[in-house]
């Protein structure tokens, strides 16, 4: 690439260094995973520091560090603040995490909850949504990794995608959730320190006033607090955050993995710590007009500004930040989606009497298959990152009410939950194509809410919470 700041050699060197670090650490921590609970749920005893860091780092995806600058560049102040409202999902999940741990002390996945709470049909719909969303998220991050490497180092997009996916696959396979959570802590620190350094240098070196003046002169709409599309995006992103976190097994597996009493504090702190990240990343993009930069592809604006301001050092710092963001989410997603496939499909549908050893082998194979599936789709760069994420918004938005009502309201019934997910997804996707990408989650959640509330009031159900305590744990002895 003509404008790449780092040479491909530097890029490959950085990739090699961090890949070795993650794989060695993954292997090291993975040695603790003696049992299936250890491999899938890190022994169900994760403390506050690691719990907070893993929840925060996982939610800082490549989309936060690359799409937040893109949204700031397109939607201004509200683009950044709107993205930041994604933190509310973590904060609102805090009490739910504690409740999940209490109601299902031996649970493995969010699918377990939907199956036990609503039965077979809702469970199948939920699995479709959850696995589709997981793959969509994997693909968007694989694409982001390829784009970043290409933008900063000139390394071929396909090589970048391949390396990032393979590295995350290897250490997740080696260490399971122990490896994921351990590396997440280091990655969260690298992300926070990296973005603080970049933003501080940019705004101290140039000054807030010149940056603001350039925005006022050249892109005044970015400072407009009444930009309609941006306001719509703000609410859409808020609901997207709720839907993603409430339904995804990435977050449920952590609720099961955290020690009793840790879940509430860990998710609350993670939400508070995550909130500033997209604003800081977005603020970096708003420096572009002052620098008079020509931005050929908006999803590259963050890396381009960092490289322009700080040269090789800036490019290296943002490389580390985005690589950490990618790895912290990719590993979590591989582990959690694999758990969902192994527990809900392999164990519950195909081999109910599978032993721990068989389940662990199935998890390793599933992680490899998920990586290959994401890799094949990533090879064609489909669309812009924000659009890619928003497409799945309708699906995740439709799960908010079935999950939240199902956890707290015993009268919510299977019919309402199933219809809410199906109709919310269908109408949300229709609006994605007919109105705009920024309304998909909003509409999906609204339709689902109306259906869940109406059916709960019309056909109240009496659910007993102790039915969530399933005790058919897999056998420890290998066959």
């Amino acid at each position: 690439m003509e404008n790449a700041i780092l040479t491909p050699f530097t890029g490959f060197t950085l990739l090699a260094v961090f890949s070795v670090i993650w794989i060695v650490l993954g292997w090291h921590w993975g040695r603790k995973a003696k049992s299936l609970d250890g491999y899938m749920l890190a022994g169900r005893n994760v403390g506050l520091a690691l719990g907070t860091a893993t929840a925060m780092a996982t939610w800082v995806t490549s989309n936060t560090t690359m799409a937040a600058p893109q949204l700031a560049f397109q939607m201004g102040i509200w683009g950044m603040v709107g993205y930041s409202l994604g933190s509310m999902g973590l904060i609102f999940f805090a009490p739910m995490a504690e409740r999940i741990r209490t109601l299902m002390p031996r649970g493995y996945t969010s699918g377990d909850f939907v199956r036990l709470r609503y039965g077979w049909t809702a469970w199948q719909v939920f699995l479709l949504i959850s696995i589709f969303y997981g793959l969509g998220w994997l693909i968007s991050m694989g694409m982001a990794g390829g784009i970043l490497l290409h933008a900063l180092t000139g390394i071929d997009y396909r090589i970048g995608v391949t390396v990032i996916l393979v590295v995350c696959m290897v250490y997740t396979m080696l260490g399971g959730l122990y490896a994921v959570i351990g590396t997440d802590y280091i990655q969260s620190m690298l992300i926070l320190i990296g973005i603080v350094v970049l933003a501080a240098v940019a705004y101290v070196r140039i000054g807030v006033e010149p940056i603001h003046t350039a925005l006022t002169d050249e892109r005044p709409a970015l400072l407009n607090l009444l930009m309609p599309a941006a306001l719509m995006f703000l609410f859409n992103n808020l609901l997207f955050g709720f839907g993603e976190i409430f339904h995804s097994n990435v977050w449920w597996s952590r609720a099961f993995a955290f020690r009793q009493g840790v879940g509430f504090r860990a998710y609350l702190l993670a939400g508070l710590f995550w909130a500033p990240v997209p604003i800081v990343a977005g603020a970096l993009a708003l420096v572009a007009p002052h620098l008079g930069m020509n931005v050929p592809a908006v999803d590259m604006v963050g890396p381009m500004v960092a490289a322009r301001l700080l040269g090789v050092t800036g490019a290296i710092v943002i490389f580390i930040v985005v690589f950490s963001s990618l790895a912290s989410s990719l590993d979590s997603l591989l582990a959690a989606t694999s758990d969902l496939v192994v527990e809900d499909i392999y164990r519950k549908l195909l081999r109910p009497r599978a032993t721990e050893a068989q389940l662990r082998r199935a998890a390793v194979v599933t992680i490899a298959l998920l990586t290959v599936a994401a890799w094949v789709i990533c090879l064609d760069r489909l669309t812009h990152l924000a659009g890619m994420i928003a497409f799945t918004g309708a699906f995740v938005g439709s799960t908010i009410w079935p999950i939240a009502a199902g956890l707290y309201w015993r009268k919510t019934n299977p019919l309402g939950a199933t219809l809410g997910m199906v109709a919310g997804s269908a109408v949300g996707i229709t609006c994605y194509f007919t109105v705009g990408w920024y309304v998909a989650a909003l509409v999906g959640a609204a339709v689902s809410m109306v259906i869940v509330l109406a059916t709960t009031l019309a056909f109240p159900h009496e659910f007993h919470w102790n039915r969530l305590r399933e005790e058919d744990a897999p056998q420890e002895v290998a066959s």
Partner: protein
């Protein structure tokens, strides 16, 4: 909104967010040391 108010809002947003991220890094560092010394990592 006047130019000065817009500038103040923009500056405050950047300052609070950057400061907040810095505080988050410090708290995470303190928490890990505390959990490690107390044998509560995992």
């Amino acid at each position: 909104m006047t130019a000065m108010a817009s500038l103040s809002l923009f500056g405050a947003l950047v300052l609070v967010a950057t400061g907040g991220a810095a505080v988050a890094a410090v708290v995470l560092a303190v928490l890990i040391v505390s959990d490690w010394r107390g044998g509560r990592l995992w």
